[in-house]
Amino acid sequence: MRLELLGIAIISFFIFTAIFAPVIVGLIPHDKSEPYSPPSKNNLLGTNDIGEDVLVELIYGSRVSMFVGLTSAFVSTIIGSFVGIISGYYRGFLDDFFGGLIDLFLVLPALPLMILLAAYLEPSVWNIILVIALLWWPNTARVVRAKVLELRESQFVEGLRCLGANDLYIITRHIIPNVSDLLFANFTLSVARAILLEASLSFIGLGDPTYESWGSMLHYSMKRGGLLNGAWWSFVPAGICVSLATMSFMLFAMGLEDRKKRTKAIGLEV
């Protein structure tokens, strides 16, 4: 599908920018100028509240968004798939416990809890990753658990048991390969979510103060009068970047989903 390709193209563009940020910054004009000076030849996207080039900030901001997005999605996918597989495969007490935990987390309002945790912890990129992963894994776990529940009752797993295969073998060789599509699609969606959440936390002022991210650009523009002075360049591009990055990962996930025709299974609806 074409939209899926568009998603992949945008993702590659942002990842490329994130990796080669210093090189790209060297290629564009970025003199320090007056605060909130409009886009010009010297500052292609104008300057921010302390006279720094907006485009340069955007390029470096892609590093934070991509890193936080991918890492926290990775961590939450690992935790979520572990819990999902264990509780779906073994059922019993473990499932009661983890199932209850998943239900609880899905009811809890994520943002206030995230804000609370982020406020307690030192503001740093790693803590943001920790907070997002800690609150996002139940979404993955729920979906994986449902799929594993279905798999464990399937005939081929029953057949394997009859052949005397042990649990470890069944899980690693048959369950995991069968949920891997689902995991990948879910991972992609988690990246989209994590990018949005990081931006939200940074916008509230709970981001890592040592790195400029898209969210913190919005934060400073709001806090230091960029918006009120009508300096649209101080916040419009950053928001476009957040939206584009989020959307590209969602398009990619939807493409994967379309291919597998598993609309309900991967939980895109939630």
């Binding site: 309002p109 609370l116 406020a119 939630v270």
Partner: protein, 320 residues
């Protein structure tokens, strides 16, 4: 299963959730690095004599075993004592309850509008989604779904307040304002929130509709030759109501969280703006109460949704 049993089960489940929320709230400050008393006193800790700190620790029971601390904590909560906000200089519960109506004033209308518009959009796009227009609409909804709400709020302010000068720059309407001023202050926050709840709902309802449209009763209804409107309203909307209600409860929590951030953009003096001040002051008791109260609101919304589901879904009642 009798109706009573059903309610009892739900009640037990929600009690457990509420207990877990309280337990979580109790554990967080004690798990974090540093002395919990610093989280209770905030910056005041530098101005309080060491002897007084010991005294305060005794008062909060921090020198006692954890189990006893928890009992004390529960006893406080039952009395509505969520602690003392040092940045506002008042008990937390008063601060939150004072700001809550302002937040609900923008959350409730936008949730309702979002549910209604989103449900119709979702059904429209989910039902036989082959046409180009529907596909474009679906992608547009997805785009809205990926935009940060506060950023859209900033753009709205830029266009409608700064450039066109049609609407106020934010803040709450003054107490003595007439109806038009009052509404003009509400428009942008509510519109921003509505757009997001609509997108969220539309995405979900699209999935639900797609699922239902493959069922046999849909085929039967169509082969009877029902008109499209009649069919959509009676045969498609009705079976998708229970999932919609269940989702609306989660939605309300989502909208509430969304409102917290959108308020910051519009300087709307509700819970969200207060939260921002609490974050800057590192006013932990206030942040904790905020989490507890928003969690309780979500649980309450879920409980109401469960009851509504019984009312609209005869399949649930027939089991009794």
């Amino acid at each position: 299963m009798s109706l009573f049993q059903y309610f009892f089960r739900k009640f037990a489940r929600y009690s457990l959730v509420i207990f877990a929320i309280i337990l979580l709230n109790f554990c967080i400050p004690r798990l974090m690095p540093g002395d919990p008393i610093t989280y209770i006193l905030g910056e005041d800790i530098y101005y309080v004599a060491p002897e007084q700190i010991e005294e305060l620790k005794k008062e909060y029971g921090l020198d006692r075993p954890l189990l006893e601390q928890f009992k004390l904590y529960m006893a406080r909560l039952v009395r509505g004592d969520f602690g003392y906000s040092f940045s506002f200089g008042r008990p937390v519960i008063y601060v939150v309850l004072e700001k809550l109506p302002m937040t609900l004033l923008i959350t409730i209308p936008s949730t309702f509008m979002g549910i209604v518009i989103g449900a119709y959009l979702g059904i429209f796009t989910g039902w036989r989604s082959e046409s180009v227009f529907k596909r474009l609409l679906t992608n547009f909804i997805l785009l809205v779904y990926s935009i940060p709400s506060y950023w859209l709020g900033m753009i709205a302010l830029l266009i409608f307040s700064l450039k066109l000068k049609l609407l106020p720059l934010g803040g709450a309407p003054p107490l003595d304002s007439d109806l038009t001023t009052f509404i003009s202050h509400l428009i942008l926050p509510i519109a921003t929130l509505t757009i997001f709840t609509t997108a969220y709902n539309a995405v979900i309802m699209r999935g639900v509709t797609k699922g239902i449209s493959e069922e046999y009763f849909v085929m039967t209804a169509l082969s009877k030759g029902l008109t499209k409107i009649h069919f959509l309203n009676r045969h498609l909307l009705k079976p998708s109501l229970p999932p919609l209600i269940a989702i609306s409860a989660i939605e309300f929590g989502f909208a509430f969280s969304g409102a917290l951030i959108v308020e910051i953009v519009f300087s709307w003096p509700g819970v969200g703006l207060m939260m921002l001040e609490a974050i800057i002051a590192r006013d932990y008791p206030l942040l904790q109460a905020l989490f507890t109260i928003s969690a309780l609101i979500v649980v309450l919304a879920n409980a109401i949704a469960d009851i509504l589901c019984i009312l609209v879904d005869p399949r649930l009642r027939s089991d009794f």
